[in-house]
């Protein structure tokens, strides 16, 4: 497949997956959230960027976090998606100055689970957006922050 064919076929999902299979495109080139989304300050724009605007709230997307975080600089968060075929999980701290925390893509046997520590400026929901079978699902957990972790 030459470059011209790839470009001509770029409109169809089939050609894109062929290009991925042929090693012409890395999966991250196609599915990765735009790096600019990490600089967006509006939670709505961030949700759109991660494909979560129309996400269906689903109890299968479980966000684990403390009810109260005394130190917003270090808030332990874990996310599990029990939805079969989950390929990615994005984590959004709704009221942070920069709400998009991270996006994780899973392949080759990785369980749709991640645990990490995040910064939270103020009390807000931590939203997880999981994608499976071309659909987006979300879950959330509210974390009350007593000392914010984004300013100092």
């Amino acid at each position: 497949m030459d470059r011209r064919q790839v470009l001509k076929g770029a409109g169809s999902a089939g050609a894109v997956s062929v290009a991925i299979a042929a090693g012409l495109l890395k999966p991250t080139d196609v599915f990765a959230v735009d790096a600019k989304a990490f600089a967006a300050s509006d939670a709505g724009a961030v949700m759109a960027a991660v494909g979560g605007s129309g996400a269906e709230a689903n109890a299968g997307v479980v966000v684990g976090a403390p009810d109260i975080a005394e130190n917003g600089a270090v808030v332990p968060v874990d996310v599990t998606s029990n939805i079969a075929g989950t390929t990615s999980i994005a984590i959004v701290a709704e009221k942070n100055s920069l709400p998009l925390i991270a996006e994780f893509n899973f392949s080759n046997g990785a369980v749709a689970y991640v645990a990490t520590r995040i910064k939270m400026g103020v009390t807000s929901n931590v939203i997880a957006v999981a994608k499976a079978g071309g659909k987006a699902y979300k879950g959330h957990k509210e974390v009350k922050v007593t000392i914010g972790g984004c300013g100092g």
């Binding site: 990490f38 920069l98 046997g109 991640v114 995040i118 984004c150």
Partner: protein, 102 residues
């Protein structure tokens, strides 16, 4: 202090835990002494491979806490497989660590 990685089997699932050393500056924080904004300096990409195959490929912003902690789970891995975690930051600095699943 170097990067740390531990991987162990729990049933049919490998538990992978990693600690990285990084300031994770968002670019919004002001230095208390000088009052100047501390420039953004954070990890932007993290990948984890098991046996040479990518299992998790992540994009991060500055909202991950300083000296990041990351835990993952991988099915189908087995004791002895090599786990590697790589990170790259917004300045192009990078670090990697490997360990065998115990």
């Amino acid at each position: 202090m170097a990067m740390k990685l531990r991987a162990s089997m729990s049933g049919d699932t490998a538990d992978i835990k990693c600690l990285m050393n990084h300031p994770m500056e968002t670019g919004l924080r002001k230095d208390a002494a000088s009052g100047k904004v501390v420039p953004a300096h954070f990890i932007t990409n993290v990948t984890c491979t098991v046996g040479g195959k990518t299992v998790v490929d992540a994009q991060w912003g500055g909202g991950i806490s300083k000296n990041p902690y990351l835990a993952l789970k991988v099915k189908g891995a087995k004791s002895g497989d090599t786990v590697t975690v790589n990170w790259v930051d917004n300045k192009g600095e990078k670090e990697a660590i490997s360990a065998n699943i115990g």
